[in-house]
């Protein structure tokens, strides 16, 4: 009976990732893991929409393409591009880390954390270089 009293009902039980914070200490690895998911969802929605939109505009001729590029070069368009840039580099480099894990390598906490630092460094540098380079051209 005592356990029944102390056990929260099904509806009150915390589910991942919302248990991180109030119930479970945030860790480097768990934060990067949820960031991989979040960047994946962001790229799935906005990355694919933007690529499809750009290719369709391109296929409709110079006038449609010009209109699309005016929108992409606007402030909201450039902010979206910059966010996509960080998301794709992070998801790319962290995805490589996941693929290495899938082969059974680098699973020790210290190795995983070191690889995570490399991922963060590479994605930040690559994103900044790309944003400066492409932002100056559009």
């Amino acid at each position: 009976m005592a356990t029944e009293k102390n056990t929260p009902s099904q509806h009150e039980r915390p589910i991942s990732p919302f248990m991180i914070g109030p119930y479970y200490k945030p860790q480097f690895s768990s934060i990067l893991s949820i960031a991989h998911r979040a960047s994946g969802v962001f790229l799935s929605v906005f990355g694919s929409l933007l690529m499809i939109y750009w290719l369709v505009a391109l296929s409709q001729g110079p006038a449609a393409y010009h209109n699309a590029m005016v929108w992409i070069a606007s402030v909201p368009g450039m902010l979206l591009l910059a966010a996509l840039c960080f998301a794709i580099y992070y998801h790319f480099f962290n995805g490589l880390r996941h693929l290495i894990w899938d082969t059974g390598r680098m699973l020790e906490i210290e190795q995983a954390n070191r690889a995570a630092m490399v991922v963060l460094f590479c994605s930040a540098v690559a994103a900044l270089i790309t944003i400066v380079k492409v932002g100056g051209l559009i």
Binding site: R37, S48, I52, L55, V56, S59, G95, H98, T130, I138
Partner: protein, 125 residues
């Protein structure tokens, strides 16, 4: 007495629902996306700000339109597989989950068809 349905035995999945096909598909598309995304980033960096004609000529080369279609197909499949897991994990209303899963698949399929048509149209201009 055997309690398992002969069909379950024939599928050979044990107690799992779909076996390893989802996991494997996510990895195969991920591997495919490594060179394709590098190619895409290269194209974006080199061709950003170029006039329409230059980009049209770029896509008139078969190798580039094939790579663009391959990239979008691998990307949409990878995205659909990823979104499927996210929806499975966080959407707990069964009717809503089914609708969302079908919508994601429909979007991926429609996106793939749209891109293939656009790239063909562009290449033939």
């Amino acid at each position: 007495m055997k309690m398992r349905h002969p069909l379950a035995h024939a599928r050979g999945l044990g107690s799992s629902k779909s076996g390893t096909s989802h996991w494997w598909g996510q990895r195969v598309t991920a591997l495919l996306l490594i060179p394709l995304v590098i190619w895409m980033l290269y194209v974006v960096i080199v061709y950003a700000g170029q006039p329409y004609q230059v980009i049209q000529v770029f896509f008139s080369h078969s190798i580039n339109s094939i790579l663009a279609i391959l990239l979008i197909l691998a990307m949409l499949r990878h995205a659909q597989l990823g979104m499927q897991v996210v929806i499975e994990d966080y959407v707990h209303s069964q009717p809503l989950e089914t609708i969302l899963q079908l919508l994601v698949k429909l979007f991926a399929l429609a996106g793939a068809i749209t891109v293939i048509l656009a790239v063909i149209r562009l290449a033939l201009q």
